[in-house]
């Protein structure tokens, strides 16, 4: 072992610690689903779940949330795609559904 190896070890520990911290911070993300102004679901986005709403189906999988189906004509919420970042949302206006990550 040479003296400079310490730099690599310190850098490796730094990367590992940083990645642990980043993921821990992201883990706090929760999904709130509102339907007709009532909160119908609050939960982590890292717990896979199929949420059946009155007219929509919302899927939580591997930290991503997406609207699988909706009975409205335009399907804007379905086309929103997958969301996973804080502050992102899927909104279905015809059915008054708001799914937001906090």
């Amino acid at each position: 072992m040479k003296k400079h190896d310490l730099f690599i070890i310190v850098a490796a520990v730094f990367i590992i610690a940083l990645s642990f911290l980043l993921i821990k911070g992201k883990n706090g993300a929760t999904l709130t689903v509102k339907e007709n102004n009532k909160t119908v679901y609050v939960g982590s986005i890292y717990k896979d779940k199929n949420i059946k709403l009155q007219n929509n189906t919302l899927i939580i999988k591997d930290g991503f949330v997406y609207m699988k189906s909706a009975n409205c004509k335009n399907n804007i919420c379905v086309h929103t795609g997958k969301i996973h970042k804080k502050g992102e949302s899927i909104i279905c206006l015809p059915n008054k559904v708001i799914a937001q990550i906090e």
Binding site: M1, I16, F64
Partner: protein
């Protein structure tokens, strides 16, 4: 004249060709041996990477061309023998990127085999994660902490193995 000179400089003579073939065979055997002790229960794709001891040996002996040649042939062969196209993509990206990091760090002359190997192990797993991101397009970053940690630990072990090899095998195979 100059073209002829560079031609003979790029040529690998028979003795060296045989050595590289032996090194590749040794690396493949290492790959096989470690496939008998799977570590993938820790996180998908975690393994010791013992075969990298061979390429590390070459890189630390400053035979960078040989290290890349042996590494590429070993990756191709192990993909043909044990792997699939996807697993080849993963191992090729990881192998090439980590070898690049190893060669660059070794060229500075500041680090020992162990230090170089730790950096190589982390680089290997980060490169694989980048490939995984492009293939899956999902939240693969949650594996980063575990993969970075296992990369550093396995890299350190592989470095220690090559350190022993470098001490035991004193023969200067350079011609």
């Amino acid at each position: 004249m100059s073209a002829k000179q560079s031609d003979s400089a790029n040529r690998i003579d028979t003795k060296r060709l045989t050595l590289y073939a032996l090194f590749t065979a040794a690396a493949l055997i290492f790959s096989y041996i470690e496939s008998l002790f799977p570590l993938a229960f820790i996180a998908p794709g975690v393994k010791l990477g013992l075969s990298n001891a061979v390429t590390l040996f070459l890189a630390v002996r400053k035979d960078y061309k040989g290290a890349f040649l042996v590494s590429i042939v070993r990756l191709l062969l192990s993909a043909l023998l044990f792997g699939s196209f996807i697993s080849f993509l993963f191992s090729f990206a990881g192998g090439m990127f980590s070898l690049l990091v190893i060669c660059l760090l070794n060229k500075t002359g500041l680090f020992s085999a162990v230090g170089v190997s730790i950096a190589g192990g982390v680089a290997h797993n980060v490169a694989q994660l980048v490939v995984a991101y492009f293939i899956i397009k999902g939240a693969v970053w949650y594996y980063l902490p575990v993969l970075a940690l296992s990369g550093a630990l396995c890299g350190g072990l592989v470095g220690a193995v090559s350190l022993i090899l470098l001490k035991k095998i004193k023969t200067n195979y350079k011609l």
